[in-house]
Every structure is written in structure tokens, then in C-alpha cells.
């Protein structure tokens, strides 16, 4: 799990997922 600092009460988490033979960095923003 990758995270970035909480700004403006918003959490940002991400994970790099292999989709078939490509790589998607899926980033999710959610309110704290």
C-alpha cells in the first residue's frame, strides 16, 4: 500500500496492480 500525506482532510492511498501484462497504479482519494 502506498500513501501520501493527508492534505485538506483527504486520504490518498494507492497500490500498483498488474493487469495482464500492464501495470496500473490505482489511486483512491477518500475524505478522512
Amino acid at each position: 500500500l502506498a500513501t501520501s500525506s493527508i492534505k485538506h482532510n483527504t486520504l490518498c492511498v494507492a497500490s500498483i496492480v498488474r493487469y495482464k501484462s500492464k501495470y496500473v497504479t490505482q489511486i483512491l482519494y477518500a475524505p478522512l
Binding site: 500500500l1 502506498a2 500513501t3 496492480v17 493487469y19 495482464k20 477518500a30
Partner: protein, 176 residues
């Protein structure tokens, strides 16, 4: 080719034309400056608390969220193997994961597993790492992912994992 850029549409020229018409807004309204702040990524979340305190806070957060975890072995106090119920309606945690509620005909695995581990980066600087650890079904049925092809295995959605991670991080942030 007679393809070109319309000169009067360039921001600088548009602003000059608006000023030339003596419109007060032209000097008041500034152009949008969006700082493309490069997102700085970290693995997991960092902590400077005392290691046992960090573990205590994580267990309390997991308990508050109704999760369950395997009893840690003496050799490895810094790793927590978590499991929680994640069903379609609300991703709540499984209060009675062991109950063989046979009436649930879940072919969809509804227990997400995660490994939470504390790492020391340097003196007084720790990192809590979250790792997705697959799915289980609360009916105890083995997940039939054996016959999946390599490609199929990797078409898994990270969003439930990301979502539950945010819930755990929120719980830790709120508690601390």
C-alpha cells in the same frame, strides 16, 4: 495545410484585448494557476511512537473496526494477519467469522485478508506496511481460484483493499 492557432484565443492576447477595452475585470481576474504538486508517495504509514504502542494502537483500531486476527507467534510480534468481512452492502468487519453460517451461499469470497507489519526504518522511525493477502469465504468453502489462468489471477480489484486500508488509517488517525 491551413490549420493554425487562432491568435486572439491565446491567453496573453485575450487579456490584452480585454484591457484595451478598459474592462475592470481584466486587471482583477487572474488566470488559474494550478500547482502540479508532485504527489510524494510513502510505503504504508510512518510512526515515531514506541513500537509496542504502535502495535497496541493497531490492535485497538482493528478491534474498533470489528476485524479479527490470528494470534501472533512469539517469534513475530510485529506482524498481524488480519481478516475481515467485506460484503457488497457495507464493508463491515466479521464479528463471527468462524460461525459456519451455512445459509450464506456466498460463492463470492467475502473475507479479505491483509498482512500488517511494523518495520523499523531507523532509530525512532517506524513504518506500518499493509499488504493484500487474498480472499476467503466465510462459508469455509475453498476459493476455486486454482483453475484460474495466470492472467485471470491478476484481474483482481484493488479497490476493496484500498478502501479498507483507508478505514483503518482513518481509525488510527482519529484515535491518535
Amino acid at each position: 495545410s491551413t490549420i493554425s492557432i487562432l491568435p486572439t484565443s491565446l491567453p496573453q492576447i485575450h487579456r490584452a484585448n480585454m484591457l484595451a477595452q478598459g474592462l475592470p475585470a481584466a486587471s482583477k481576474i487572474s488566470s488559474l494557476v494550478t500547482k502540479k504538486s508532485k504527489t510524494k508517495w510513502h510505503f504504508g504509514i510512518r510512526s515515531r511512537s514506541y513500537p509496542l504502542d504502535v502495535m497496541g494502537e493497531i490492535y485497538i483500531a482493528l478491534k474498533n473496526l470489528g476485524a479479527e486476527w490470528a494470534r501472533p507467534s512469539e517469534q513475530d510480534l510485529w506482524t498481524i494477519r488480519v481478516r475481515w468481512k467485506y460484503n457488497m452492502n457495507t464493508p463491515d468487519f466479521d464479528q463471527n467469522a468462524n460461525s459456519n453460517n451455512s445459509n450464506t451461499t456466498t460463492t463470492i469470497p467475502d473475507l479479505m485478508k491483509m498482512v500488517i507489519q511494523l518495520f523499523q526504518i531507523e532509530a525512532n522511525n517506524y513504518l506500518v506496511d499493509f499488504k493484500f493477502d487474498g480472499w476467503e469465504s466465510s462459508t469455509g468453502k475453498p476459493i476455486n481460484n486454482l483453475n484460474m489462468s495466470e492472467d485471470e489471477m491478476c484481474t483482481f480489484s484493488a479497490y476493496p483493499f484500498l478502501h479498507l486500508s483507508t478505514r483503518l488509517i482513518m481509525e488510527l488517525a482519529v484515535n491518535s
